[in-house]
Symmetry: C2
Subunit: 269 residues, 2 copies
């Protein structure tokens, strides 16, 4: 195969297999090309990916000569995306009764969701994560987008058990903002012991729901490695029960009378 064809094929391969370790001989065989040619191909792919701020190829030296694509957004690219997100969210027609914000259009756009997942996953790129966890319903697309980049599976916590998932573990927790007691269920089969978990959700107010997931993970002897949310509410009245988390945006002020919304960058660096 010619270099030009290999570059197209390799680029697709890496984008579809993030964080997977591949040996040089594998590509050498696949494309029927010398290892030195493959090495040159890889440096071209790496250079373009870095220039576009979407990640880089990590090469391991030695006889096996492995390589894997690390899909890490550059800080510049992440910040630019969050800027746009803040701008989109500050549209006053998003204000719903009770001071809630309509975000379903953003969460319903696969391209936006994909970008959010990339930004979150980039933040957790150096952590050892086995699985992404979320609670039904709105966090699900964000969890999948993040997990796709981290190349790990997703488990979904539910409010009610389903017959099609086998036996499960359930806990009760106190919802932070409404102070109601709620239930959370996770099928036993969905998590192995001592798993390293990344919790993802769309929105965090006091953090009761996320805290519930943390408690549920205790039951599985799992370790919470990271917590990521799209938006957090900057609400002084509620005391936050979650400490270490990453948020893309912070909704600092919603004025129902004046119909204004203020959205800032979250604590993502």
């Amino acid at each position: 195969m010619k270099r030009s064809d290999r570059l197209v094929s390799l680029t697709r391969y890496f984008l579809e297999h993030p964080k997977e370790h591949m040996s040089l001989p594998y590509f050498s065989d696949k494309y029927d090309a010398a290892k030195s040619s493959i090495s040159e191909d890889l440096s071209i792919v790496d250079r373009v990916m870095q220039k576009e701020g979407i990640g880089y190829l990590q090469t391991l030296p030695g006889a096996s000569g492995g390589v894997s694509f690390i899909p890490e957004f550059s800080r510049e690219r992440s910040h630019q995306f969050i800027d746009e997100l803040c701008h989109t969210l500050e549209d006053s027609s998003r204000i719903l009764p009770g001071g809630y914000l309509y975000m379903s259009d953003i969460l319903g756009d696969p391209k936006m969701v994909n970008q959010i997942g990339h930004v979150l996953a980039s933040t957790f790129s150096n952590l050892d994560i086995d699985v992404v966890m979320t609670v039904a319903t709105k966090g699900i697309p964000l969890a999948y987008a993040t997990a796709a980049v981290l190349n790990v599976p997703v488990v979904i916590v539910r409010r009610d058990p389903k017959v099609t998932e086998g036996s499960s573990v359930s806990i009760n927790y106190v919802s932070g903002s409404s102070r109601k007691i709620q239930t959370m269920v996770l099928p036993k089969r969905s998590l192995t012991d001592n798993a390293n978990v990344c919790i993802i959700d769309d929105f965090m107010k006091a953090g009761g729901t996320i805290n519930g997931m943390v408690s549920l993970l205790d039951e599985f002897n799992a370790k919470v490695q990271a917590i990521g949310v799209l938006a957090e509410a900057d609400d002084e009245e509620d005391e936050r029960v979650v400490e270490n988390y990453t948020s893309l945006v912070k909704i600092t002020h919603v004025d129902i009378k004046e119909k204004t919304i203020e959205v800032r960058h979250g604590n993502v660096t």
Copy 2:
């Protein structure tokens, strides 16, 4: 920019912007290259994509000279994937009480979900679809995977309304297998009038839930263009209430005593 670099950048661009119409001058400007060079680049990308069975570049002739990437899996590629899926599903440890099948591991694997979405979207590639619709919870990842390929948004029908979504339309429907009356809710804001809709779900038994979504869409004057499910149960006792649909696999027999499962290709062509 050199051809080698352009090929990496173009491949990524097309994969991330499926079904988007782009003009040749756009790329010509972006890469500071002659239109003739870009044309050659495009034919290389097209050739490799076709060879790998993942889609093709559709070029429109004329002064504007547009191009878009159509991510259509080849029949061979789709069939190979469904073969693997059948094999994975025939594992007897998947049998749950009541003859249900454990599929959460497949639905929790972003790479599997992505492939399922590609196969479904490839089937609907020629249809005019504005939005993908599903019902919470398990169909959600499949709906996003399909919508990402079709480059359209997702709307999620819920069993209960949420304050954060504004006013909504609800209907009652009869669940096909349990014959229970259930409720479905869709926020008013989530669908425009006369939308062309593709319904996606993970599993179809009698089809009551999907039929409920069809009824709900009537309320929005929407048109159902396609229905796609991962798996259908071949259950003679229940009369199917949905007619035109596409399924990837058909679970033809689950024997709880003998612990055997039979899974065949669905009606996807």
